[in-house]
Structures are given as structure tokens and as C-alpha cells.
Amino acid sequence: MQRWCFSMVLLLLTASTANAQEDDVPPFRNPNVNIHVDVDTTRTIPTYGENRRWFINQTYGLYTRFGPNETGAKTLGRSIMFDYGINTKLKLWSWDALCLNVNVGQERWAMAQDSQKIVPDTLLHKTERFQFNRLQGEFYNRINLDRHRGNIIGTYLEFGVYGNWMYHNLHITRDSSDATTTTGPKLLKVRETKLPYINPLQYGFVARFGSEYFALSATWRVSDYFKSNETFAYPELPRLWFGFVLSAY
């Protein structure tokens, strides 16, 4: 009990000391002041910054597919695309800049399993999806709507083109075994790679409307995913991705 009382008194004393004015504290308890400032008398104007000649930032994008499905290739709403990129901006004027974005990302197409399905075949599964891992380059023009601003990104519109290489493409299906079967696997997952009917090179348009760290983004694919020949052509997957991009800097 005595020890407890002693601790409380000590604690109260410590607290009251901490509350005391700075000048009440004995000098030797204060950290020593040692400030040295060299004045930059040249004041060179930097060329790197949000609204300077150059600027580099990271981008994180998340998209969902938009647009109608073609018959035979119905996709589900949970189809998504996400990417991570490095964006380089070259300012031309206060209202105009050229940008190059290099990003890696993944497109995941969840396919509906209905009787009309023909992509990539007519077999029905529990779930089925295409997964395209890609390396993408975007080149676009950024037009700022607030020309007379300080060193900030501001509000802007971007439009340009992109091209990508789908370096790894997959077709993944999952199937459950018959419930009455007691032997064998319960779930059958099949991963098919190097899909022969996929065009690995894609291109299209990109447009964005953004402000500071956030942008609404849309990409429109011009090229076709699926190779076609004289006898047969797959219906295409939706061409429009719509989502948002977060910039980090």
C-alpha cells in the first residue's frame, strides 16, 4: 500500500513538472538549441514538381467492364481490371502536358454460363474466366482546366492511346463433381495457358477526367481479343472499361 501511495505521489509530481512553463524547468533538463541555417541566395527554380517541367507519380487503377455483351460471350459484372503504373508528365504549357504511363495490370473476365455460350467453347462450368496479365504503355495529352494555378496537379482532361502486350493469358474453369460420387476430387480446376485464339497485342483509346489524386478513367479497346479465321470468328468481349485511378506522390 505504501509503495502504491509513493508511486502515485511520484506520478503526480512528474505530471505537474511536465505541465510547468518551459522556463520553470531547470536549464540542464531542456534539450540544447543548436540551429544553423544557410540561406539559399541563388533560389534556382526547380524543374521537377506537380506543375513543373517534369513530374513522375505512381498510379493505381481499378476498372469494371461496361457496354453490352455480344451473344455467345456474355460476361458477368464482377469482371474487373486493375493496374499499377508509373506516370511521367512533361509540361508543355500551363494548360497542356504530354504524359507517358507504363503499367502492369491484370484483366479478369468472368464468363456467364448460359446456353448461348460459345467462347471459348459451348461447355458449361461452375465458373469460368479469362485472365490476361499485361504490360501496357499509354501516351496521352493532358489538358488542364485551371491554367493559372500553383504547384499542383489541378483539374484535367486526358485523352490518348494505349498499347499492351498480354504476356500471360489464362483460361480457368472450375467444376464440382457430382454430389452422389463419393470418390475422386470434389472440385476440378483447369488452367489453360498460351491460348492460341488470343491476340497478345492490344491497342485502344484512353480518356480521363481527374483532379489532384483522383481521376475517372475510361479505356476503349479497338483491337479484338480473339483471332478470327475464314471459317469462324468468336464474338468479342465488351470493349469499354470504366473505373478510377488514384495517383500517389
Binding site: V37, T41, F159, L240
Partner: protein
């Protein structure tokens, strides 16, 4: 669907082509404008002009030609405030519209208006326990020796102070301003955002700023100018698009001039979102130029330096960057003198002029909104403390002119004649204005000496050889070039009897080293 790319491009282009920006359109003359200063100005404004030896009105007071405004309005999308001081009007226009406006024969100059965001220079706010309230006098009034003004009954009586801010929520109901309201010391209010008289809207920041001049909580004075009259102007929203706020700021300045303000306090301004640091040179930003214009009309503009003292480097926010605006930094008391608060912006300005001019506490007790006792931090609150101090000086010396007051406030600094870019000349001291006999310089506390290579200061420290060195105070020293520009400056605890302050070989022979220690000042040419 294949037409969608075309659609996207067509979607983008109209936005780009229709991009509208704000511009200031300066007119060449004020032909045909008539003006009667006796009916336009309040008596206080005429008295102030007379005291400064100025005519009742000059060219800059005449209104802008209405026909010019009408023609510009017809060509532009939106028209903002028409400034008498600059003979200009702010417009929002597309590039095409701007061409039309520029071609008008009476248009002298077109200048882009910054996308202006008025940012309050406050960092945090929290309500405080009543028990720590009595420390308010210690924290913010006594540091400037404000209690000496109060003892003499000097409270800024007869002085009109205008406050430009984002809102004054609670000023009518907060008991800290009971006396102010009861005595009718709030002479005028105007909300330049919604164009109404009520300023009890928006934000509590303005109320907190007002409390640092005129707040009385219990028996505790939060500021020094409890007897002054006030004009309250709301000039910006706390958040949102502030594209035309620059014109509101100008409008409020001209309104304060018209209604007889002697002092204008500004506790915020545009930061690097609106201007590049290199544009903060006192000439580029129109509100800085307006600050200088106000000084020419006899109004002392007191403005917060900004809270950009972190890693941004030297950055003095407009309008504090103007040479005739009294720029106030934030500092705390340390070892009996001042030390810059870490958040406080410091100088020099972009064109290497010396700022801030003085400093004041930035960690203060305030009243605002529904609370009567809170703690705030920021140069937002240093500025009104100095503005209140200046109001007391004006009551004491009613014949002093604006620029004399400006110079006197600097001379009253606790570090004067020393100066550096962290503190200016330090905390203004009331004793400078109250004591007829100046205090005798302290006995020699240190001796500045040199040999061929180095310059050093020798201190006479109390006590003998201590086991652990004890600081006996802060030494401020700086090296300046022949033009008076600081090349480097230092603040150190005096722990040893000898401190080397400069190596001669590092500097030109016309450079000078200046030292300040416990009231003693010395300098030596290198």
C-alpha cells in the same frame, strides 16, 4: 459501338476548348468618373488620410468607369469585383472571349488571376480546461509585455481594426465577446461571399482570431485590444472553389479603407496551391500589391507569415510577402527570448527580402464558436496578437503614421537591432513605447574578438567549472553581406565560454557578423 472512340474524343475536346479562367482586366483611365469623398468615406477614413497628410481622395479612390465594366461584362462569362484601387475588374472568360475583351480600346492590361484558395493559417483547435486559462496571459499577453498596456488602461480605444477571415461563427453569443457586443465595438460586418451583413457563418477561425485581440474569458484577457472597434469581413468559404476569392479580398480591403480601418488583420492567404514559391515576391500576387496600396493609404496591414515552416524551405505567403505589410511569424519563449515555432513560415521572400518582420506566440488560448476556452496553434493567431498590440500603440501615439508604426513595431522587437529570417526582430515589447527612458544596455556579457582567421565571442558565464555545462541563454548570430542580406544565421545555447562565430576565409571582407545575447548586441566587419 465502334464509334465510341470518336465520341470520347468529341467528349474531351469541347471541355478543353471551353476551359474558362479568371483574369484581371485593367483599364487605362477613369474618364468621366465623379467622386465625392465626403459622402463615400466614413469620418474615420478621412481623419486617417488627413493624419497622414494625404488628400481626401486620389485617383485610386475614384470608382471604375461603369461603361467599361458593362462592355467587358457583355463579352465575358462572369464578372467579379471591380477594384477602384487597381482600376480593374475580374472576369471569367474563355480564350475567345478574352481576345474580344483585350481588343477593347480602354483595356490597358490583362493579367491572369490565380485560382485563389484562401487557407487559414491555423493548425489545430481543441477546447481547453478552464484551469489552464490563466496561463493565457502568460502565453500570449505577457510575452509582448501586454499587461503593461492593460495596467495603463491602454486597450486600443479609438482605433478601428478590420479582420478579414473565413467566418466568425459564435461571435455574437460567445461570452468572451460580451463586453465587445455590449459596448457596440463591432461597428460593421459584411459577408463578401454571400453578399449579406451576417458574418456569423462559415467557420470559427475568424472568431478565434478576434479573441486574440478582444476576447475576455472570465478575468483573463486573451488579447490586448479589448477597447478597439472592429470591422468583420468574411471573404472566403472554408472549403470549395475559391476562384474569385482574390476579388473578394480586394473588395474587403477597399471596404475596410472606406469605413475607416486603421489596422487590417489577415490570418490566411493563398499558399503553393495557388502560386509558385518564386511568385511570392511581393509583386506578383495582387493581394500583396493591395497590401502595399493599403499602406500608402495609411492602413497598417498585419498578416500571418504562414504555417509552411516544415520541409517547404523559406516560404512567406502572400500578402505577407509585400514590403509594406507587417509579416508576423510564430515563436515560443525559450531561455528568456524567442525561438521559432516549428510550423511557422520563415524567410526570406522569393526575391530575398527580409521577412518576417516580427514574431508573436503561435500556440495560444482562444475563444470561438460555442467554447470560451480553447487552444489553437498557427501564425493565424500570432498576427492578431501583434495587430492588437499595434492598436494599443496607436492609442498611445495617435499621431504616428502607418509606416512609422511599422518601423516602431520592428524596433520594439526583443532581438532588435539583431534580425534573422526565423524571428524578424523578435517579440514586440510594450516597454519600448511606454518607458520614456530607455533601459541601459546590459553590462558586457560577452566580448567579440578576432584574429586573422576567426571571429569568436567570449562569455562571462556564472559559476566556475561545472561538471555538466549549463546553458546561460541563447546566442543569436548571423553573417550578412554588404547589402544587408543574411548569408547564414544561427541560434545556439551558450554552454562554453568561447564560441567561434565565423571563419574569415569563408566570407568576403565586406561581410559582417552580428550577435545578440541577452539584450547585448555586437557586430564586426569580417
Amino acid at each position: 459501338m465502334k464509334k465510341l472512340p470518336v465520341f470520347l474524343l468529341l467528349f474531351c475536346f469541347p471541355f478543353a476548348m471551353c476551359a474558362q479562367d479568371a483574369y484581371w482586366i485593367f483599364f487605362s483611365d477613369k474618364k468621366g468618373c465623379t467622386f465625392d469623398p465626403q459622402t463615400y468615406f466614413a469620418p474615420g477614413a478621412l481623419e486617417r488620410r488627413a493624419r497622414h497628410g494625404l488628400p481626401a481622395a486620389d485617383y485610386t479612390d475614384y470608382p471604375v468607369n461603369e461603361h467599361y465594366i458593362q462592355q467587358v461584362t457583355a463579352a465575358a462569362t462572369e464578372t467579379g469585383y471591380a477594384s477602384r484601387w487597381f482600376n480593374a475588374v475580374e472576369v471569367t472568360a474563355t480564350p475567345e472571349q478574352l481576345k474580344t475583351v483585350s481588343a477593347l480600346p480602354f483595356v490597358k492590361e490583362v493579367m491572369p488571376a490565380a485560382q485563389f484558395r484562401w487557407e487559414a493559417c491555423a493548425l489545430k483547435n481543441k477546447t481547453a480546461a478552464d484551469s489552464i486559462l490563466p496561463r493565457a496571459t502568460e502565453k500570449q499577453v505577457k510575452i509582448l509585455q501586454g499587461e503593461r498596456f492593460l495596467e495603463r488602461g491602454i486597450t486600443g480605444k479609438g482605433v478601428t481594426v478590420a479582420i478579414l477571415d473565413v467566418g466568425f461563427v459564435g461571435y455574437k453569443t460567445n461570452s468572451a465577446f460580451e463586453e465587445l457586443i455590449f459596448n457596440g465595438q463591432i461597428k460593421l460586418t459584411y459577408d463578401f461571399v454571400s453578399k449579406a451583413e451576417n458574418v456569423d457563418v462559415g467557420d470559427t477561425h475568424g472568431t478565434e482570431v478576434l479573441s486574440c485581440m478582444a476576447g475576455i474569458t472570465g478575468n483573463t484577457n486573451l488579447g490586448m485590444a479589448t477597447g478597439a472597434n472592429y470591422l468583420l469581413a468574411r471573404i472566403a468559404k472554408p472549403l470549395g472553389n475559391q476562384q474569385l476569392a482574390e476579388s473578394r479580398w480586394l473588395a474587403a480591403m477597399e471596404w475596410a479603407d472606406k469605413n475607416g480601418a486603421h489596422i487590417i488583420n489577415n490570418s490566411g492567404g493563398p499558399n503553393t496551391r495557388s502560386y509558385f514559391p518564386e511568385q511570392m515576391d511581393g509583386k506578383t500576387c495582387l493581394i500583396s500589391r493591395a497590401g502595399n496600396m493599403a499602406a500608402r493609404k495609411g492602413i497598417l496591414v498585419v498578416s500571418a507569415a504562414g504555417n509552411e515552416g516544415g520541409e517547404a524551405g523559406p516560404l512567406i505567403l502572400p500578402p505577407s510577402d509585400a514590403d509594406s505589410v507587417l509579416c508576423v511569424g510564430a515563436a515560443e519563449r525559450k531561455r528568456g527570448n524567442c525561438l521559432r515555432s516549428s510550423f511557422s513560415s520563415y524567410g526570406p521572400t522569393a526575391d530575398l527580402r527580409a521577412k518576417p518582420d516580427v514574431c508573436a506566440p503561435g500556440d495560444v488560448q482562444t475563444a470561438g464558436g460555442s467554447y470560451e476556452s480553447g487552444e489553437d496553434e498557427g501564425t493565424s493567431f500570432s498576427s492578431p496578437l501583434v495587430a492588437g498590440f499595434a492598436a494599443c500603440v496607436l492609442q498611445l501615439q495617435p499621431s504616428i503614421t502607418c509606416m512609422e508604426l511599422f518601423a516602431a513595431l520592428k524596433k520594439s522587437g526583443s532581438l532588435y537591432p539583431y534580425f534573422d529570417y526565423y524571428h524578424g526582430t523578435g517579440f514586440p515589447q510594450a516597454s519600448y513605447f511606454l518607458d520614456s527612458t530607455k533601459p541601459a544596455p546590459p553590462t558586457e556579457l560577452f566580448k567579440l574578438d578576432s584574429d586573422f582567421f576567426t571571429v569568436w565571442a567570449e562569455f562571462k558565464l556564472p559559476g566556475g567549472d561545472e561538471e555538466e555545462p549549463v546553458s546561460s541563454g541563447l546566442l543569436y548570430y548571423a553573417v550578412e553581406d554588404a547589402s544587408g542580406r543574411l548569408m547564414e544565421y544561427h541560434i545556439v545555447d551558450v554552454l562554453n565560454t568561447k564560441i567561434t562565430v565565423a571563419n574569415r576565409r569563408d566570407y568576403n571582407s565586406d561581410y559582417k557578423v552580428k550577435l545578440f545575447y541577452k539584450g547585448q548586441y555586437a557586430e564586426m566587419v569580417l
